[in-house]
């Protein structure tokens, strides 16, 4: 278990200070563009497969099971069930956060508890750390808290968070 480096030596290092201009302008795509426009209007839009009936939220142009185009836009509710929720004390660069950030996945209605796949979103959840720790938030019905119309810009951030109804 002997290691030639000590803990403090791990922090002393030569770094290459070059910062690459690796900026990307991603394509939202055919399906997600309409989804994002829907968010600006306060609607959560999905695509329905005409063959198997599966509803995709976030929407897809094709059904991954049937491998045929999804053909129909459907609006799902901005209300759903918290499937899982966590409280993060670290940022994406693993810096320490004082106030935990609470996020989770939401199974949107219409859907049933028996579904293995369902329309759903990954988003912030407005609740306390205690609600997460005690698992009280799990299985609760939540609704999207939308940004005011004038501040919406067609992004997933148009929903501030999901909060308990």
């Amino acid at each position: 278990m002997v290691h030639p480096l000590k803990e403090e030596e791990l922090k002393e290092h030569f770094t290459v200070t070059y910062r690459p201009q690796a900026k990307y302008s991603y394509t939202a795509g055919q399906a997600l563009s309409t989804f994002l426009r829907g968010l600006r209007e306060g609607k959560i839009l999905g695509r329905k497969c005409p063959r198997c009936g599966r509803v995709y939220v976030p929407p897809r142009l094709y059904c991954e099971d049937c491998f045929y185009p999804t053909s129909q836009w459907v609006e799902v509710k901005d209300e759903g069930i918290v499937m899982t929720a966590v409280a993060s004390f670290i940022s994406w660069t693993r810096d320490r956060l004082e106030e935990p950030e609470i996020v989770g996945t939401i199974r949107l209605f219409p859907s049933s508890p028996r579904d293995y796949v369902y329309p759903g979103l990954f988003h912030r959840i407005c609740c306390s750390y205690d609600d997460v720790k005690s698992m009280r938030i799990m299985g609760k019905t939540v609704r999207a808290r939308w940004k005011p119309v004038e501040k919406r810009e067609g992004s997933i951030e148009d929903i501030e968070c999901f909060e308990v109804v």
């Binding site: 278990m1 290691h3 030639p4 480096l5 791990l10 290092h13 770094t15 990307y24 991603y26 939202a28 795509g29 997600l32 994002l36 995709y56 939220v57 976030p58 991954e64 499937m83 899982t84 929720a85 966590v86 409280a87 993060s88 004390f89 670290i90 940022s91 994406w92 660069t93 693993r94 810096d95 935990p100 996020v103 989770g104 996945t105 939401i106 579904d115 293995y116 796949v117 369902y118 329309p119 759903g120 979103l121 990954f122 988003h123 912030r124 750390y129 997460v132 720790k133 698992m135 799990m138 299985g139 992004s155 997933i156 951030e157």
Partner: protein
């Protein structure tokens, strides 16, 4: 009962690995060379005997070098040979062995060197930041997720659906770090208690520091040969009897996380090939993928070695201990040995190989073993790879 084999039988005859450490002083190529040389030595072969080379490595961004397959080629013995790189996220390690298997099983190569390497430590400020580019850029990345979030979400869902406590899950960490104390390659072996786990730093509730495997550098390599010539080199070839792998979709917010259906599919594929009908009766030793402690339980259920939600119960009874009915992670797993992603997966296969060969030294499990399973898992909770070996 196996009938009508349409492929050539494949045996593993050599394996080697470097120690796993937080920061190794060697370059990725030097690590790959060290593991490859050890594997060739154990097999009694020279590089000129090798027909094909398979290289496994997870995202380029960890080592900080693009085209890692090509970069590693000379350290892995792949110069002027048919060499290829496989990559399925965290599941890459076992996929490297599977790829080695089908190079031989297809009849294309007689002797294959399979090498997996990963150097997690170079990324600054922390390798965690590298995961930023695995998310959906439109629907997920604006929320600034990190990788531990999704593990924590899956862990919490698993705990919620199956009514499992943090204490029960912490036992995995305790067991694996204890097992790792017997492993000369291990980074984090030792005796810890459930309390130590529960008192460690909260990263993303319910995940705490000791629930997670460390940042590591390391490499591992194996030699696979055609069954017809295996006994020229060893009296104890270890046979690759079944392989399986599955990829689910990337839409993890849109599916049930409490049970890994993709793993069950992969396991069924491998078991069918190996003729295993009752996994819990027929498998003697298992190395499930354990980057987080709950993952080991999750995977034991997916491998059908425990019923849904019952793995913690069996663990508490000692069923998965080193002297238990089906020793699980006798090497110490990723939690104890370390987690250089691709190398960690191949380390799991090597652990089973050494157990079946009887050369695992202090890691050797108490009961005689004949059938072993190694498994890895990766990507956005979507990939699983399974390999079944027999002696």
């Amino acid at each position: 009962m196996k009938t009508n084999l349409k492929f050539r039988r494949v045996a593993a005859i050599g394996a080697g690995m470097t120690p796993f450490r937080r920061r190794m002083l060697e370059t990725p190529q030097e690590l790959a060379w060290e593991a490859s040389r050890k594997a060739l030595d154990e097999a009694g072969l020279e590089l000129r005997d090798i027909d094909c080379v398979v290289i496994g490595s997870a995202p380029d961004a960890f080592d900080g070098v693009h085209m890692k397959g090509e970069y590693l080629a000379h350290g892995a013995g792949g110069v002027m040979k048919p060499a290829s790189r496989v990559y399925v996220g965290g599941a890459t390690g076992v996929m490297t062995a599977i790829s080695g298997w089908y190079h031989v099983a297809s009849g294309m190569c007689k002797k294959v060197l399979a090498v997996a390497e990963e150097k997690m430590s170079p990324g600054r400020p922390h390798p965690q930041a590298v995961f930023r580019y695995i998310w959906d850029p439109i629907t997920e990345k604006p929320l600034n997720p990190n990788l531990i979030w999704i593990f924590a979400m899956e862990m919490h869902r698993y705990m919620f659906v199956n009514k499992i406590s943090k204490e029960e899950i912490a036992l995995v960490s305790v067991k694996n770090k204890r097992n790792a104390a017997n492993n000369p390659y291990a980074q984090l072996g030792g005796e810890i208690t459930v309390d130590d786990v529960l008192r460690s730093e909260v990263l993303v509730w319910p995940v705490q520091l000791l629930d997670v495997s460390p940042v590591s550098d390391g490499a591992a390599a194996m030699v696979f040969v055609d069954g017809d010539i295996a006994r020229r080199y060893t009296d104890t070839p270890i046979w690759v009897e079944g392989v399986g792998w599955t990829l689910d979709n990337t839409s993890w917010p849109n599916r049930e996380l409490a049970y890994p259906r993709y793993l069950e599919n992969a396991a069924r594929m491998a078991y069918r090939m190996a003729g295993i009908e009752r996994p819990q009766r027929e498998i003697d030793v298992v190395e499930p993928y354990d980057p987080f402690d709950y993952k080991e339980l999750h995977h034991l259920e997916g491998l059908m070695l425990a019923r849904k939600g019952e793995a913690p119960l069996l663990l508490k009874e000692g069923f998965f201990d080193r002297d238990g009915d089906i020793p699980s992670s006798p090497s110490g797993g990723l939690l104890g040995v370390g987690n250089p992603i691709a190398a960690a997966g191949l380390m799991k296969v090597i652990s089973i190989y050494w157990q079946l060969k009887g050369t695992a030294g202090k890691m050797q499990v108490k009961r005689p073993v004949h059938t072993g399973v190694a498994q890895a898992w990766g990507d956005l909770m979507q990939a699983s790879t399974v390999i079944v070996m027999r002696n």
